[in-house]
Amino acid sequence: MTTIYQELLLAHYQNPKNFGRIIHPGKTITVANPLCGDVITMDVIVADGKVKEIKFSGHGCVISRASGSLLTEYAKNKSQKELLKLDRAFIIKLLGIELGVNRIKCAMLPLEALQKLLI
């Protein structure tokens, strides 16, 4: 059986990249998944239409935290336009796992935060 709890995701869960706050962020947002109690706060600094700095914090499950870690890494120096196009299929590919209907919401939470920040 393939497990979602594989080394790569667990590593991102235990030591997430870009975890914390930006002291003087350009923009900040908090999104939540009330059903499971996940909360993510994301800070960004955008310059010349590109993400210059990005951090996230909050509490969540392995999936939402690993997704936040991988997504923020990916987003650095990418254009706003490009990032607004990202979708569910991208996140699944980024995480490299299959997710059931119930867990896909956890994986999508960081992208929801990012796209709300960039609109």
């Binding site: 235990q14 499971c36 996940d38």
Partner: protein, 410 residues
């Protein structure tokens, strides 16, 4: 209790899912073959509508449907069969009271009292009603052990002559606490004899003998699907004089006495509250589920589950010590086999997911009871819940699964 291995054999889900460890009966229970067969019996032998046809298979369907009502009446010791209303589930039963009675009797500055441990279905209807009526919505707190913060001495500070409705759970679906409902009702009625008492027995009726006359409640609600019965069928018990004074909740076929262009006259309960074609097969199936429970014996089921619960608490604490925090009573007394816990700082979804990969079913989330989670400062929790088809082996598997969770998440 009858041999537990024999009981497992009555539930075909275990044949189709070898090795299944089902610990989510508080959400919904598994179904014995006899209940499944009863549904098929209706659909194959007398699949007619009730109360209308004057041909044989309709009469047979009506007879089976009404036999189920009698079975429910006897099961909860109601005085007469007219006191048993078939609904879709507990939620609908409670909403029925809120609409048909609550809206008649609750006015501005009146009070509705409920508790912080309620399932949303016994919380939100009353909160909304209080809001609409301009009434005061009072929520009784619990102590650190998950027991209601009421006793006969402080109840007077909560219930007053203006309290129109007291709505409380018999058993909490998060904490497992069995509330002293009988005592509370008696004390409340002493303060205000006109108070209407509503008991959410969704987690009680499946697991222990329940006697509405002994409790002295005015209403009691529960769901078929949590007590080995089909989905889509629930029960509202109501005192006959109250039901008979209430206005219908739904209007349409099956609940009229006479319709003219000028007006409609409604029949007495229970028909008044069963508009439209009901869940016939499901009601009949519920009767069969009750038969199964009675044959096994509610006292025996309660005693067996208590032993399992004690075993589960003991082994959770022994295996994980301070890493695990069980909400609710810490002994098997005054509680049922619903064990909600926080495990280190692990997210409940991760716990449930890793256990799920081991074929162990538990629930993660707020279990439709956000107020009580806020009360304990948790956004969500993990919950295991037992029923008569569980055994010690299931709990051992859960403990092994939790050890694996700890190994993976560190």
């Amino acid at each position: 209790m009858t041999d537990i291995r024999k009981i497992k054999r009555d539930f075909p889900v275990f044949i189709h899912n070898p090795g299944l460890v089902y610990l989510d009966s508080a959400a919904t229970s598994l179904k014995p073959q006899s209940v499944i067969d009863k549904l098929a019996e209706y659909y194959t032998k007398y699949p007619a509508n009730i109360h209308r046809g004057i041909y044989r298979i309709s009469e047979k369907a009506t007879e089976e449907y009404e036999k189920s009502r009698i079975a429910v009446m006897e099961f909860v010791n109601a005085r007469r069969f007219e006191e048993i209303i078939f609904t879709r589930n507990t939620t609908e039963s409670i909403n029925l009271i809120a609409y048909s009675l609550g809206r008649q009797i609750v006015g501005a500055d009146d009070e509705i009292v409920t508790t912080v441990m309620e399932h949303h279905s016994n919380f939100v209807p009353w909160q909304v009603l209080a809001d609409e009526a301009g009434a005061v919505f009072k929520v009784v707190d619990i102590n650190g052990d998950g027991c209601l913060d009421v006793n006969t001495s402080n109840l007077a500070g909560i219930i007053t002559k203006r309290t129109k409705i007291l709505a409380l759970a018999y058993v909490s679906n998060v904490l497992g606490t069995v509330n002293p409902v009988k005592k509370i009702i008696r004390a409340a009625k002493k303060i205000n004899p006109k108070i209407i008492t509503v008991v959410d027995a969704a987690q009680a009726v499946p697991h222990m003998p329940v006697d509405v006359r002994d409790l002295g409640c005015d209403f009691l609600a529960f769901s078929g699907h949590k007590m080995l019965g089909p989905t889509g069928i629930g029960v509202l018990y109501g005192r006959y004089d109250l039901l008979n004074s209430m206005f219908p909740f739904n209007f349409g076929g099956g609940m009229i006495k006479e319709v003219t262009i000028e007006k409609t006259e409604f029949p007495p309960p229970p028909a008044r509250f069963e508009a439209g074609t009901p869940a016939i097969a499901e009601a009949i199936g519920l009767g069969e589920a009750i038969k199964y429970l009675q044959t096994t014996g509610m006292d025996k089921i309660a005693a067996y589950e208590k032993k399992l619960t004690a075993y589960a608490i003991k082994h959770l604490i022994e295996s994980f010590g301070a890493d695990i925090r069980v909400l609710g009573p810490k002994t098997a007394d005054n509680r049922v086999g619903v064990l909600t816990f926080a495990f280190k700082n692990y997210h409940p979804h991760d716990i449930a997911h890793i256990l799920g990969e081991e074929n162990i079913c538990i629930r993660a989330g707020h279990h439709c009871a956000m107020p009580v989670h806020n009360r304990f400062g948790l956004a969500a929790s993990a919950r295991m819940s037992l029923y008569l088809y569980n055994d010690y082996y299931d709990i051992d598997k859960l403990i092994d699964g939790l050890k694996k969770v700890k190994k993976i998440l560190k």
